[in-house]
């Protein structure tokens, strides 16, 4: 689909490629095993009835076919390395290469989780250093690095809340969750055995203090609050919120998904937060990997520290490090071993590359970029909340819906302009939301191209809405039939489906 307004991209040859199974042919190999230096063994004598008699039908292919297969597939993905990836709330920032190199150093990548502590001082030092720095950044008192992702951190945090309240004599029944929250928040509360009570936002997109005051009682364990919230709005009443909760014995959990708006500018520990998780794959630059691995450390105040998952890294008087399992009040383990250690290395390397000045500039640039986009697109798109925003901005499709277009349509058209779409239809408090988070990693040229693209699409919405309704036009595949996929799920390849 040619269009002179599309300046960022040009169509380009894209290789076709089947499933890896479709390249398979008996006898092809991509390996040669090393010579066996012990006697061969008769597997059927060794295993008896436990011997596998039918081989798993894994593909039989050669090394060059594997390289081509995954290289071709890779070219069908959009990635941060291609350009702006403004998925609101996901914080798609640059992933530094030094992180990848240091996390693959032999002595670190090859470390067995149960190797003796005497030869684990390096990995323990990395965990300790990262823990100390995250504590400083959040202003909290203690931390666990064990949770494997943000939602896993949420669960850990709410279990801490529960264990603490139980130790006070009453775990309570409910968790309050604002209507703007991520879906993981209510799902987490349910997993921790709590009922979820919705808390409504006020007209500025912040917590309605009167509603909070009315709903807070001795049955409520606490509040899960994202701050800045999913509208990108910092809730300036945060101290009052904490005060209302604390007065009635409840706790304040902060979902740290948007901590990238605060690093080096404000610390949750200073404004009354009791525990919070961090998404190392958002704020601290560890790669998203096409959907994980993430890492979700949980920081907390001193009174919650005894309940942290075990083990924790502690320093002995002689200066060596060890893992402390003797934690009688611990909520237990949330994961085998110690967490996504490879991600911890990357996050630490990121903090070291930035230093205090770099971290501050990073946060300022993220907020600057979001506000620049807000200013440039306001009026072209409906801005449902005029409250100042921080690192992300949420528009709605109200103006374009007059032409019968929805946020999802605009998103698909943005693909033709060479951008990954923003987050579609979230947060749910905004009907037809366009949630845009540029992050600090975008240069001015890229932001301006994005502004031009969005304005051009807004014009197309008036002139030729069908162009948008049928987008994308320049991708390998047109819109995919998701309804059919769910109605009759095909979740694996079979020979006959070739």
């Amino acid at each position: 689909m040619s269009n002179e307004n599309i300046r960022k991209v040009t169509t380009h040859i894209s290789q076709n490629e089947g499933l890896i199974f479709e390249h398979s042919s008996p006898g092809k190999k991509a390996y040669r095993l090393a010579e066996l230096d012990v006697p061969e063994i008769d597997a059927s004598a060794e295993l008896g009835a436990a011997l596998r008699t039918e081989s798993a039908a894994l593909p039989e292919v050669s090394e060059p076919e594997i390289i081509r297969h995954f290289t071709r597939l890779s070219t069908w993905n959009y990635a941060v390395d291609h350009g702006m990836y403004p998925l609101g709330s996901c914080t798609m920032k640059y992933n530094p290469r030094v992180n990848e190199v240091v996390s693959r150093l032999d002595g670190l990548a090859g470390a067995h989780p149960y190797q003796p502590e005497q030869i684990s001082q390096g990995v323990l030092r990395i965990m300790k250093a990262l823990a100390d720095q995250l504590i400083e950044i959040t202003g909290m008192d203690a931390i666990t690095l064990q949770p494997a992702a943000g939602a896993h951190g949420e669960l850990t945090g709410i279990l801490l809340m529960r264990a603490f309240l139980e130790s006070q004599g009453n775990a309570r029944k409910k968790i309050l969750i604002p209507d703007s929250a991520h879906g993981t928040n209510p799902a987490t509360a349910a997993m921790a055995g709590y009922e979820v009570e919705n808390l409504r936002s006020n007209e500025d997109g912040m917590v309605d203090l009167a509603a909070l005051e009315a709903q807070m009682n001795e049955d409520v364990a606490g509040l899960m609050l994202t701050n800045p919230n999913t509208l990108g709005i910092f809730d300036e009443q945060i101290a009052q919120i904490a005060e209302i909760l604390h007065r009635k014995g409840g706790l304040l959990y902060m979902d740290g998904a948007n901590m990238n708006a605060l690093v080096a500018k404000a610390r949750p520990g200073d404004f009354g937060v009791d525990m919070m998780h961090l998404n190392l794959h958002k704020t601290f630059s560890t790669p998203h990997g096409g959907g994980g691995p993430g890492s979700g450390p949980v920081a907390c105040t001193k009174h919650l520290e005894p309940f942290l998952p075990k083990p924790v890294v502690v320093e002995t008087d002689e200066g060596t490090l060890r893992l402390d399992y003797d934690r009688p009040q611990s909520i237990g383990r949330v994961r085998a071993f110690y967490g996504n250690f490879g991600m911890l290395i990357r996050a630490l390397a990121y903090i070291m590359a930035n230093g205090p000045d770099g971290l501050r500039q990073t946060t300022e640039d993220a907020v600057l970029n979001a506000n620049y986009l807000r200013k440039k697109l306001e009026g072209t798109f409906d801005l449902p909340y005029s409250t100042p925003t921080m690192h992300e901005v949420v528009f709605s499709d109200k103006l374009q819906s007059k032409s019968g277009l929805k946020t999802g349509d605009i998103a698909k058209r943005l693909i033709d302009y060479g951008f990954h779409p923003y987050t579609v239809s979230f947060p749910m408090v905004v009907h037809g939301a366009l949630m845009i988070e540029p992050t600090e990693s975008e240069p001015l040229e890229e932001l301006d191209l994005f502004v031009d693209a969005m304005k051009s699409i807004a014009q197309e919405a008036i002139d030729s809405p069908d162009l948008i309704k049928n987008a994308p036009h320049s991708t390998r595949l047109s819109r995919l039939d998701e309804t059919a996929a769910a109605r009759k799920p095909v979740l694996r390849w079979k020979l006959e489906s070739k």
């Binding site: 499933l19 890896i20 390996y31 066996l36 597997a43 060794e46 295993l47 596998r52 798993a56 894994l58 039989e60 390289i67 995954f70 290289t71 597939l73 069908w76 959009y78 390395d81 291609h82 640059y94 992933n95 693959r104 670190l108 990548a109 470390a111 067995h112 989780p113 190797q115 990995v123 939602a151 209510p186 997993m191 200073d270 998203h288 990997g289 096409g290 959907g291 994980g292 691995p293 237990g332 383990r333 071993f337 967490g339 205090p356 770099g358 971290l359 907020v367 579609v424 600090e440 990693s441 390998r476 595949l477 047109s478 995919l480 039939d481 996929a485 799920p489 095909v490 979740l491 694996r492």
Partner: protein, 441 residues
């Protein structure tokens, strides 16, 4: 700062365009008393070379270059070089969850292939896109069994990885899910009579691990019969995925939960790894985590999408099957590539090498100390009971022989005395086995 693509002139221009005089105005929503007006106490900004040096120094403090005779849930297998060559492409590792399928077909197709291979390996009909790891996968499988059966207790074999059992206990505690444990017999396998007696009309599932924490392969079919006779599901956790190359898959299970680390994922001090849940087609709507399905585009071309999302938290909120959002896509990609490299024949040959190495090690160690649980088949691990304390042996081997020895069992299984679970893989040399065997007593 080298990651920030803006000059001061550009920043000034942007502030002017926004219509403000200084960046501080954008932070005005943060109440003044909470604004940080000092530098964070973190190390100063470092050069790339300084960062590399610092981490090299940490790596040197660790046990680099040691022979590893330790498994216990994390296995030292060779990683073909094509894995890192491929996953280092930015299109793989700097993309996110494939929410926009038209520009994420690479990730989606790779996950679809992964789901297929996991089904082939485990003997199940459907598999998800991955979970955090084997331990959380096992916990999610137990909760899934609760939802399917409407029953609310579970039985765990005592021979399941102790840390997996701890994780399941954490998850189960607030689900109102009482857990009981069933013992093992003197061949290291689940005590079938005790299991039969333990199952009640309220038992949602029996969870076993095979090969279990001692390396012993369970009689999955017999356990399935016992569980099914009383209406309970069987969940089988597989921590050593490579075993499936040569050991009969747990096809009689209702849910298989796999830790895929053995397939080309670095040990990396315990993570990131990748768990998977595989099950029967009829249970697919109770499976947690992401699923990729095949479909067509408007022109009838084959393509892939995330599907059955109505199970998930972003739609169902507190009624979702789990709070899980992210999976371990890049790790699943590593394991996909690994399974392609070895393929149908290689995975078998590699498993056979592991079997041979472990059999040799058992024989060598057996001349010095007592190998436990001889009455049942094993894959690449075995339990050795010594007269000397297992931690002492481990310390001596590390200091004197640069060998990482077996996992001492006393903490979790005091009844086994001075025992440890040892492991030999294709990377364990005969020389290392001989040297280690020479030190145990």
């Amino acid at each position: 700062m080298r990651y920030l693509p803006k000059s001061s002139a550009e920043r000034a221009h942007m502030l002017r365009e926004i219509g403000i005089g200084s960046i501080d105005e954008l932070f005005a929503p943060i109440p003044a008393q909470f604004r940080l007006i000092r530098d964070l106490c973190v190390p100063r900004q470092m050069a790339e070379s300084e960062i590399v040096d610092w981490f090299r120094a940490r790596a040197a403090e660790n046990g680099d270059g040691y022979d590893i005779l330790l498994g216990a849930g994390a296995y030292n297998h060779y990683r073909p070089l094509v894995i890192d060559a491929l996953i280092s492409r930015g299109e793989w590792f700097t993309a996110y969850t494939p929410y926009q399928p038209e520009i994420a077909q690479g990730t989606l197709q790779a996950i679809f292939e992964f789901q297929t291979m996991i089904c082939e390996l485990t003997g199940m009909e459907v598999a998800n896109a991955s979970m955090y790891d084997g331990s959380t996968g096992a916990a999610e499988a137990v909760m899934m069994a609760m939802r399917i059966t409407g029953r609310n207790s579970a039985i765990l074999a005592r021979s399941v990885h102790p840390e997996y059992r701890e994780v399941i206990a954490t998850y189960a505690k607030y689900q109102g899910l009482p857990l009981t444990e069933v013992a093992f017999t003197d061949n290291g396998r689940v005590d079938l009579a005790a299991l039969d007696a333990a199952i009640t009309p309220n038992t949602a599932c029996v969870l076993i691990q095979s090969p279990n924490f001692f390396g012993t392969i369970e009689d999955v079919a017999a356990i399935a019969d016992i569980a099914h006779a009383k209406g309970a599901l069987l969940v089988v956790s597989v921590a050593e995925a490579l075993s499936l190359g040569i050991v009969r898959p747990p096809s009689e299970a209702d849910i298989v939960t796999l830790e895929a680390q053995s397939f080309g994922v670095p040990l990396s001090y315990g993570g990131p790894y990748a768990g998977v849940i595989a099950t029967r087609e009829k249970f697919v709507r109770q499976i947690p985590g992401r699923l990729v399905g095949q479909t067509t585009d408007r022109n009838g071309k084959r393509g892939f999408v995330l599907t059955l999302a109505t199970r998930e938290q972003h739609i169902r909120r507190e009624k979702a099957t789990s709070n899980i959002c992210t999976n371990q896509a890049l790790v699943a990609l590593m394991t996909n590539i690994y399974m392609d490299v070895y393929g149908r024949e290689g995975i078998k040959e590699l498993a056979q090498q592991n079997l041979a190495k472990a059999a040799y090690a058992r024989k060598q160690f057996g001349t010095k100390a007592r190998v436990l649980f001889d009455g049942a088949p094993r894959f690449n691990e075995f339990v050795l009971q010594t007269s000397e304390d297992a931690y002492e042996i481990s310390h001596r081997l590390a200091a004197k022989n640069k060998i990482i020895g077996g996992f001492p069992l006393r903490k979790f299984y005091p009844e086994l005395g001075n025992a440890a679970v040892w492991c030999a893989t294709e990377l364990t040399s005969r020389a290392a086995i001989d040297a280690a065997a020479g030190e145990v007593k």
